[in-house]
């Protein structure tokens, strides 16, 4: 059916279909809140920013959080001002609110997200299993500068990556960017030497152990704090390096995991399929 359709008809039809869909989206957008953006004060994010979920929970338990029409009275929740560098022992100690959501408030999402990446990497391994990496006969070795340069850069990149995920709760970034940075360093090593291959079993062990570490942290929370993925460490003062409880731990696990995973995927994907 499709195979005989002229290209032109196909394109026009595609434009037509996609166009209607997009118009539909825009018609929906016209009904969005003012300025097409969410008013933070009308969302649960308000409590995440204010680190106020405990007080909201208190109101919820008392039955005053929702009114009779089931509208949440989010702006009525009492608020304790937070000062950077001074407020201590908050319910969540991360200065970076996005991080606090990613790892703490919605930590379960992140566990799933890590799993997705892990599964994708495993899937790549499964699909590409048994592919031999052939080194082409016509070898074009990179220059010595490239070889040395990538190795030097790797150390720096590794350090930077570690910096990014250790400071995840303070600055933009976190486990995923940190891991990606580390993986890019390893990618550099691939460029530096033809036929380079990282230690596969090492990567696998790293990956598995860090993933297990994440789940174990969750289970420690379950045992210690009676809830899976609950923070079991003191949160410290907001803005300190040693604050925000288990966020740093989790980000270290995630960073190592993502770094090794992406490297493993890269390694698996470098397959020479050309005939030489």
């Amino acid at each position: 059916m499709m195979n005989d359709t002229p290209e032109m008809v196909k394109k026009v039809f595609a434009i037509f279909v996609v166009g209607i869909l997009i118009v539909g989206f825009f018609m929906a957008f016209t009904q969005m809140p003012k300025a097409n953006a969410v008013n933070v004060n009308n969302t649960v994010s308000r409590f995440y920013v204010m680190k106020d979920v405990d007080q909201a929970t208190e109101m919820l338990d008392k039955g005053t959080y929702f009114n009779k029409d089931m509208v949440p009275l989010r702006n009525d929740v009492p608020y304790t001002p937070i000062t950077f560098g001074k407020s201590a022992n908050l319910e969540d100690g991360a200065a970076n609110v996005v991080t606090s959501i990613v790892v703490d408030y919605r930590g379960f999402d992140t566990l799933g997200e890590v799993t997705v990446l892990f599964l994708a990497a495993s899937g790549v391994m499964l699909v590409l299993h048994g592919q031999k990496r052939k080194i082409p006969k016509k070898r074009t070795e990179p220059s010595e500068i490239m070889y040395v340069g990538t190795r030097i850069a790797f150390a720096v990149i590794l350090l930077f990556g570690i910096y990014v995920f250790i400071h995840g709760h303070l600055t933009p970034g976190g486990g995923f960017p940190g891991g990606a940075i580390i993986a890019s360093g390893i990618l550099g090593l691939f460029l530096g030497k033809q036929g380079y291959s990282p230690n596969k079993s090492g990567l696998t062990i790293f990956e598995s152990l860090s993933g297990m570490a994440y789940v174990v942290i969750g289970i420690i929370g379950l045992i210690g704090e009676k809830s899976f993925l609950a923070n079991f460490l003191p949160t410290g003062t907001i803005g300190d390096l040693f604050s925000a409880g288990f966020i740093a731990l989790i980000y270290i696990a995630i960073g190592m995991k993502v770094g090794s995973e992406l490297s493993a995927v890269t390694n698996a994907m470098i397959i020479d399929t050309e005939d030489d």
């Binding site: 434009i15 996609v18 997009i22 969410v38 959501i101 699909v127």
Partner: protein, 124 residues
């Protein structure tokens, strides 16, 4: 007024990406291009998500010594929740793309083509 326009611009951009991506998926028969198309759709989605979280007057949702997120009991930061969602969405998109590429490599080896019209089997 300018605020109003700014968000519309981003939304239009997001929708344009989604539209372009879908168009590519619908019209290109090459697997790699289809994967690229899916990636563009993903980008559009991500742009949409961060757009609805953001307001021209909002500040970044990170506590620093100078950045005050709450003024007069009202949060002035950009909504951090969609931002954390977009992080997830990006990673998921990455995973899907990696897997799709791996399958594409394998398909090329086994079928000798990347044309989606030729990737089908007669019943055995």
């Amino acid at each position: 007024m300018i605020d109003f326009l700014q968000n519309w611009i981003y939304l239009t951009g997001a929708m344009a990406l989604v539209g372009i991506g879908l168009y590519i998926v619908l019209t290109n028969t090459n697997i790699l291009r289809i994967i690229v198309g899916l990636n563009i759709v993903d980008s559009g989605t991500n742009l949409f998500i961060v757009t609805i979280a953001w307001h021209p007057k909002s500040v970044m949702p990170i506590y620093t010594a100078t950045n005050n997120l709450v003024v007069d009991g009202h949060v002035v930061a950009a909504d951090p929740l969609p931002q954390s969602l977009v992080l997830t969405a990006i990673v998921i998109g990455l995973g899907t793309t990696a897997l799709a590429l791996a399958i594409a490599v394998k398909i090329y080896q086994k079928y000798g083509t990347l044309d989606v019209r030729k990737i089908k089997e007669e019943d055995k």
